[in-house]
Amino acid sequence: MGQVIDSPAVWASNLRKRYKRRTAVDGVSFTVGRGEVLGLLGPNGAGKTSVIKMMLGLVRPDAGEVMLLGRPNTDPRSRQRVGYLPELFRYQPWLSADEVLRLHVRLAGVKVSGEDRRETLALVGLADRAGDRVGGFSKGMQQRLGLAVALVAGPDLVVLDEPTSALDPLGRADVRDLLLSLKDRGVAVLLNSHLIGEVERVCDRVMILDHGRVAASGTLAELLGRRSLRLHLTHVTPEAAALLEPCEREGDRYTIALPDDVPALVAGLVKLGVGVHAVEPARVSLEERLLDILREHP
């Protein structure tokens, strides 16, 4: 039993999947620790949803192994404490919201009181629609219901595939708070999202997929570790510009990798007659880093 608790929430090794002649996932390995929030990023068609589906046993991998909460994912019990919001979220349209939750609780084999179900619905903002048929729900309401389904059985691992794709700005903020509260409670989360701000705010670690491979992965500090320096300069001569290479330029603003000796650089620029208006340290945003990584990876 102790071994089960010590094991990571997700351990995936060398996952591969081909659809006909197209390789969707090509050797992806990763782990999500207990209570850790892992962000999954990547362009459309990178294989993010395929990885999630293989992990949960919805799609058969061509190769690779997955352990969920200490059990191989071929064992249905490995999903006992897993909650999942699919990218394509649909629930039995002929059931009411509360009946959908009741069904999922029963299938999960746990006991959840009507009070707790109501609370879960309230958490996603559907408290007053508990008795309404799901068929009459708007898209965003169905996604909210999907969140409630993922959370209702008291999971230790929550897998969210683009959980805010249909939500209004308020709903997105709610999901962010929800993710932070899951993190506080020690629930492991795998979050696939195109909203980088969301990922940057809540994730401990990030994995970037591209063309079915892991293009980069690490903690935010590791990924964004390359610090940079922003300068506001005028009268930049060609010699001065050579000092700044390689750099990114937007009008009078220059961004360069943080040099070892900033005062020496500034002194050099001043000696060449450059007008130095501002020098400030900067950090690349996750968005810039993501774009860099994807461009490096043709």
Partner: protein, 280 residues
């Protein structure tokens, strides 16, 4: 087992909440009304059940109406069986459900059980109502009503199992249409076979026998007819009736019943295999 029962209950709930049940009820009521009218006409024409002709007429029309019910049951369940599995896969309803700690086989078994209960319930209610109508109008009561209804339920189960198998592989509509098409094809092959029997042409008769082995719906249906019609009929009418698609001369053999059960289990097993391998 609890998972299987949960899914079976869910399937019944789906059947009752979707429009399927209401349209089935309407169709059944129409058919019952028509048959009540028809039987009262027979009763008026023959004036009681003393003549053998009335028995032939009563048995034939009863079988005809029961064929209508079995058709409704088959169509209804086949068109429920398709959407309930492949429809859920296509729409994405299956995604969240299948990630619960359950096996796909359990889901399939639950759906199958729910559909069988649905089909059997329908056949029983409609059949008993029809028996009562026949009893009141022409004072006829079939010799083996329970056996007949069980065979009809078996026919429905066989067809919906086939529908489930198709729906693990092809789209919801297509699976319903293919299942019902095959059902119709075996029925016609059965009629062709009995014409061959009547004409004493064994190779034509073979058509019916083979198709009855490949898809046991028609064989079960013939067994059901046999238990609805008056046993004295055989003696009275003699030859010439065999080619009628609504009278059946031989009761079912146990071997055939066992084959039908094995067939259904095989098809269900294939469906489980195919569903297990399917990417959702």
């Amino acid at each position: 087992m609890r998972t299987v029962l949960t899914i079976a209950a869910l399937t019944l709930q789906e059947g009752s909440r979707r429009r399927v049940l209401r349209s089935l009820a309407v169709l059944t009521a129409v058919l019952l009304g028509l048959s009540a009218w028809g039987f009262s006409e027979i009763a008026a024409d023959y004036g009681g059940l003393t003549s053998g002709e009335a028995k032939v007429a009563g048995s034939t029309v009863l079988n005809l109406v029961m064929f209508g019910f079995s058709l409704i049951a088959a169509l209804g369940t086949a068109f429920l069986a398709g959407p309930t599995l492949s429809g859920e896969v296509e729409s994405g309803v299956a995604l969240a459900m299948m990630t619960r700690p359950i096996r796909r086989v359990q889901v399939l078994a639950g759906k199958w059980l729910g559909l069988v209960a649905f089909g059997a319930g329908f056949v029983t209610v409609a059949g008993v109502a029809q028996f009562v109508i026949v009893r009141v109008t022409v004072d006829y009561w079939p010799p083996h009503p329970v056996t007949g209804l069980l065979l009809l339920a078996g026919q429905t189960a066989a067809l919906l199992t086939l529908g489930l198998l198709f729906s693990t592989a092809i789209s919801p509509m297509a699976s319903g249409i293919v299942a019902v098409g095959l059902f119709g094809a075996t029925w016609i092959a059965g009629v062709v076979g009995s014409v061959g029997d009547a004409l004493g042409n064994p190779s034509v008769a073979m058509v019916g026998t083979v198709s009855r082995m490949l898809l046991p719906t028609d064989g079960l249906w013939r067994g059901a007819m046999n238990s609805f019609q008056d046993p004295a009929l055989l003696a009275q009418v003699g030859s010439g009736v065999e080619e009628s698609p609504f009278l059946s001369m031989q009761p079912l053999t146990w071997v055939y019943l066992v084959w039908a059960a094995v067939w259904t289990a095989l098809v269900l097993g294939l469906a489980a295999l195919s569903f297990q391998r399917r990417d959702l």
